[in-house]
Amino acid sequence: MTGITTGFGAWNPIAWLLLFLGVVAGALFLRRFGNKQYKKNTGQTKVFLSGNEEPEASALHVRGAHLYWGFVDGLSAYYRRVRALHTGLLSDYVALFVGTLGVVLIVLVLSR
């Protein structure tokens, strides 16, 4: 009733949730053995940046466009081509539409 069986696999969210809660409980149990002897508001809880002063929080926030630049840079060849398709020109959009129609028609006419 709650899960789905697909004939080659099964998925039961309730069972998964119970397992997840069990794992969380286990983790919390292990956490109890941790050391509580640290001193608050001293150097023990501050961020350590190779001995430099910690910058303000607003300067540390990674802005939207800067995330994953490495991934995008690695795929720059792909991105150059794909972004070149999104020209913003209506004629190009119509051309892609008509071109797709042509390809689909060729395939359909050639297949029985």
Binding site: G9, W11, H61, L67, V72, L90, L96, V104, L108
Partner: protein
């Protein structure tokens, strides 16, 4: 038979239509009354849809035929139906439920008392018209009538896209989208003309009986026109360029209706492939066209989403990639169905793809609605200029995160359940396709984590009082969608058995029942 139940299909179109025509009049009496009226219309529509669906499933999900303007569907001695008719099978009812959900969420969201804007009356009217068009597309059993409703959705949708007239970008988007929509509508009309010229009929069931095995060249060209036109309106790559423009520029509540509109076009595509042509003409190459478009859609959608800086365009590219998952699953199902020996993984693929449609409507809707609040709060749509919204808008943050996780397929949310079905069945057809789909899903999670990190985390930018507190109606609207996300995630079996399986059955083996319901003269 119960009169209300009998007329429920046409009431589903008539009630929002009446609302759309009456809203400009009611708006003259005051904005509070207008909001109440529009909310009432939406609730009534949803209630009718729910009632119709409940009695439809209770009656064993056999197709309902409703003949407009008389009882004569097949006068004695006739072979062609002469009147327009609505025909609802499992798939139509399923799509109707999706639309009702999206409509209710959109109307609730827009009925807030936050700030009265100019033209709000006209916007309500246009939204109701869009809802009318989507319902009509999903229920009609007549090809020309389908075209008429397609044009209603096109015009209402584009007016909504161009609603922010002070912004040149919205006009640019509206013009481009309108041109492409009109072109796709004209291709559909041309195909309708070709089929009418061949067989002298407009009813889908009648045409399906006439298109014999080994379709003629004209039939194939009509199929190509229908397929490309509807795939364009659904937003399949490489014809998706309008989608980010439209979703990005439309007002928040309209975006979710545009998603429902795309899904209605996808429904039309499935109806053409499975019912109109179906077993009469279904070469394997057709399935591979669908799968090819789907894989392109998944990859290009998700990778383009990764590099967007505009929050709404980012979500829009995410929405494009999800259309790809639906097309992939249905393409796999089609390939399995038309193979020499049909294998049952195709049925699971169809189930997964259709289940993903309702999940996608809920998740993408949640994201668009949350993004609307975020953008008003931040005063910009550029992710670069945002940050720290989580400090003030706790519920919005939670809803956005829920939508993003569900869309990316995190267990135990609903996106995982449907994507699991898609992956497993696709793997049986071709492991490579399944791997592509899984990798794209992981990338999608990265996309939304980036959006979440940029917009919600970090220090407060400049504290303003805009959108604080968020209007209750907006929270209720998002809460409704969040409830769907969680409920469908925790109890997938319940919903798959009740509403998704009849829809998949309608595609898998329901062609004969669909044709019989009209051609046996039982209609009316």
């Amino acid at each position: 038979m119960n009169a209300l139940l009998h007329h429920a299909p046409v009431l589903l179109v008539a009630v929002p239509l009446l609302g759309a025509f009456a809203v400009p009049l009611v708006g003259k009496l005051g904005s509070g009354l207008r909001r109440f009226f529009v909310g009432l219309i939406a609730l009534l529509t949803t209630a009718i849809a729910g009632y119709l669906a409940a009695s439809f499933y209770a009656a064993g999900a056999s197709p309902i035929v409703y003949v407009l303007g008389g009882r004569l569907s097949l006068p004695s001695g006739m072979v062609a139906p002469i009147r327009i008719m609505f025909e609802l099978d499992g798939l139509s009812v399923f799509m109707m439920l999706i639309t009702a959900l999206a409509a209710l969420a959109a109307v609730l969201y827009t009925s807030s008392f936050w700030k009265e804007r100019s033209g709000a009356t006209l916007k309500d009217s246009l939204m109701l018209l869009l809802i009318v068009g989507i319902f009509g597309m999903e229920m009609t059993g007549d090809l020309f009538n389908f075209f008429v409703f397609l044009e209603i959705t096109s015009i209402a949708a584009c007016s909504l896209v161009g609603f922010r007239v002070w912004n040149g970008r919205s006009q640019e988007a509206a013009f481009k989208v309108m041109t492409l929509y009109t072109l796709s509508g004209l291709f559909v009309l041309l195909a309708v003309g070709l089929l009418y010229g061949q067989y002298g009929g407009l009813n889908i069931a009648y045409l399906a009986t006439m298109i014999g095995s080994g379709a003629a060249l004209v039939d194939k060209i009509a199929l190509g026109l229908l397929l490309t036109g509807l795939a364009m309106k659904a937003g399949a790559v490489p014809m998706h360029m309008w989608a980010p423009d439209a979703y990005g520029e439309a007002p928040g509540a309209a975006s979710i209706l545009l998603v429902a509109n795309s899904q209605a076009s996808l429904y039309g595509l499935f109806r053409v492939l499975f019912t109109l042509y179906g077993s009469a003409y279904s070469p394997q190459s057709l399935a591979w066209i669908l799968i090819g478009l789907a894989v392109l859609t998944i990859i290009v959608g998700v990778t383009m989403a990764l590099v967007q800086r505009d929050l709404k365009r980012l979500i829009a590219f995410g929405a494009v990639s999800q259309i790809g998952y639906m097309m992939l699953a249905v393409g796999v199902g089609f390939a399995a169905m038309t193979a020499l020996q049909p294998s049952d993984f195709g049925f699971v693929a169809l189930q997964g793809g259709l289940f993903h449609m309702i999940n996608d409507a809920a998740c993408i809707g949640l994201l668009f609605l949350a993004a609307g609040i975020v953008i008003r709060r931040a005063g910009t749509r550029d992710l670069q200029g945002m940050g720290g919204i989580a400090h003030d808008l706790k519920w919005t943050t939670a809803f956005f995160m829920l939508g993003a996780f569900a869309l990316a397929g995190m267990p135990p949310l609903n996106g995982f359940a449907s994507k699991l079905m898609i992956y497993e069945s696709t793997f049986r057809l071709s492991p490579v396709l399944a791997i592509v789909a899984i990798l794209a899903s992981i990338l999608l999670l990265a996309v939304f984590l980036r959006a979440f990190q940029a917009a919600f985390l970090g220090p407060r930018t400049e504290p303003t009082d805009v959108m604080r507190p968020v209007p209750i109606s907006m929270l209720v609207s998002m809460g409704l969608l969040a409830l769907v996300v969680v409920a469908f995630g925790l109890f997938p079996g319940f919903f798959v058995d009740r509403i998704v399986t009849p829809a998949a059955q309608a595609l898998w083996s329901g062609r004969d029942a669909y044709i019989q319901a009209v051609m046996s003269g039982m209609g009316g």
